[in-house]
Amino acid sequence: MSTEYAIEADGLEKIYRARFGGREVKAVSNLTLRVPVGVKYGLLGPNGAGKTTFVKMLLSAVHPTAGHARLFGEYAQYTESRRRVGYLPENHRFPTYLTGAGMLNFYGALSGLSNYQRRKRIPGMLKLVGLSDWGNVRIKKYSKGMLQRLGLAQALIHHPRLLILDEPTDGVDPAGRREIHGILDRLIEKGVTVFINSHLLSEVQSFCEHVAIMRKGTLAVEGKITDLLAGAGFTINASRVPALYLNEIRAAGATVLRVLNGVSIQSPDSDHANLVMDKIRAAGGTIDSFAPSSASLEDLFLKATAERDD
C-alpha cells in the first residue's frame, strides 16, 4: 500500500446519464492526479469544470464511471479510507436543530470517536475555531462565517490526515479568513494534507504550494505554483530614456509601460532583456531595477481555461 500520496486518481471519469435515455454529460474525463502527503494543494477551475464531481468521487458520494481514486493508497470506495479524511462541503446544510457542540458530537460519533474522545475534544475544537462561547447555541443562529468555522471544526474533530475543503473561506471576513489559514498552517506542520477546492484565486495563490486547474472535466494545468508562475520573462525599470529609443525598444518586441519615474519594460527572455538594457544605456538612460517577472495565478488560470477552446 502506497502512502506517498494522500490522493491518487487514475483515469477517473464520470458520465452523468439523464433518466429515460436523455443525453449524457461527461463531468470528469480521464483525470489522473497525484497529491503528495503533507502539502497544501489547490484545485481551481471555472464553473462546471468538474471540480465538485471530482471531490465527491474521492469521498465516494459519486461513483466513477471509469478509473479509480485512492486515499493514502486505499481505494476511495472503501468505507475505511474515509476514516483519515475530514471534509467541509460547499453549500453545506448542517442540521439546524443541533447546537454547535451537538453537531460536533454527532459528526464525531459518525467519524468513529468514542463518547470519551468526543467529550474531551469538543471544547478544544470550539476554541480552535473561535466558537467557545457558542457551543450551546443552536446553529440556526450562527452567521455564515461561524458556520464555516464550525464546519471546519467538524472536519477536524477526528484528527484527519487529509482535509478536503470546498470553498473553506466562503462568507468569512478577512480576519476570519486569516484565522482559518493560520489553523490550516498549523495542521500542515503536523503533516496533514490540505486539499482546497476554491474559486478564490488569491486564496489559492497565497496559501497553496501546488495547484491543479481543471477545464471541461480534464486537468489543464498541474504542478507547483512557483514553477508554474516562473518563466514569464523579465521586468526592467528604467528612467531618463528618450522617447525615440522607447519606440525602438517596442519595435524589438518588448512591452513598455510609462510609470511614475520612468518606464517599466517587459522583456520575454534574458537575451532580449540584455539587448534592451544595452540600448537604454547607449541612449543615456538609467537602469533602476532588473528582475525576473512572475505571472499571477489569474493569468495562468485564464490561459489554462481559455486556450484549446474549440
Binding site: A61, T79, Y87, R93, T96, F106, L110
Partner: protein
Amino acid sequence: MSSLRVFFALIADTFQEASARWLLGGLFAISTLLILLFLFVLQVDVAAGAVSMLGVPSAFRRVYNIQHFVNVSYAWTCVGLYVFGTFLAVFASAGLVPSILEPGRIALLLSKPIGRTILLLGRYVGTLLIVILNTVYMVTGVWFIIAYKTNIWDRHFLLAIPVMIFVFAVLLCVVVFIGVLSESAALAVMVPVALSLISALLSQHQFMIKLLNSEWSRQLWMGLYWIIPKVFDLGHELHYFVLIDERSDWITPIWTSAVFGAVTLIASIVMFRKRDY
C-alpha cells in the same frame, strides 16, 4: 463497536430532528388528547352505554347483551386506533427520510466512514422507535382508561400495539423507498396511504373476482392482492380477534406484508448505495 456507535448516533439524530420539527411532541400531544378524550368526554359506562344502544335504530342494533356490547366497543375502538395511529405515524415520519438526502447534508454524511446501508437503516430504526414509543403510549393509555372506567380488563385490545407497529414497519419501508427514489416527503406520504386504501379494495377479492369478466383481470386482482401489504386485512383480523377471540388468520397477511416490506427495504438500500449525491 464503531458501527454500533454510528448506528446509535443516527438513531439519536433521528429523535433530535423529530423533536426539533415538533414531530415527536406533536405525536405525543395528539395521543395525549386522544387519551384525555376517553378520560373526560366519552361515556364508557357499561350499563349506560348498553341502555343508550337501545335508542339506536334496530337495523344498526346488534347488541344482544352487555358482554357483546363491551366486545363491540373494544373492537371498534381498537380498529379506530389502528387506522388513526397508523396514518398519523405515516404522516409524522414521512419527512424524516428525505431530509437526510438534502444536498449539502447527504454529501457530508457520506464523507464519514460509514456505510450507506447503516446510514439508511439508522434512519429507519430511529423513525420506527419513535412510532413504537408513541403507539405503546397511545394504545396502552386508551386501554387503561377504558378498562379502568368499565372495570373490564380485556388484554386482547393490547394486540393493537404489535399489529400497528408491524404495519407501520412495512409502510415505513415504502416511505424509505419513495424517499430515496424521489426525495419528496409529500410523495412519501401519498404512496403508503394510497397502498393502504388500495389494500381495502383488494381485500374484497372474493366478491370482486365474481364481477370481473376476464381471466387476466381476475389474476391481476389476485396478484395485486398478494403483493400489496395487507393493511386492511390485518385491521380486520384485529377487529375480530378483539370482538370474538377467534377467526384469526394472521399468518397470511403477516408473511405477505413482511415479504413486501423486506423487498421494498432491500430495494431502497440497493438504490441508495448506487445513487450519486
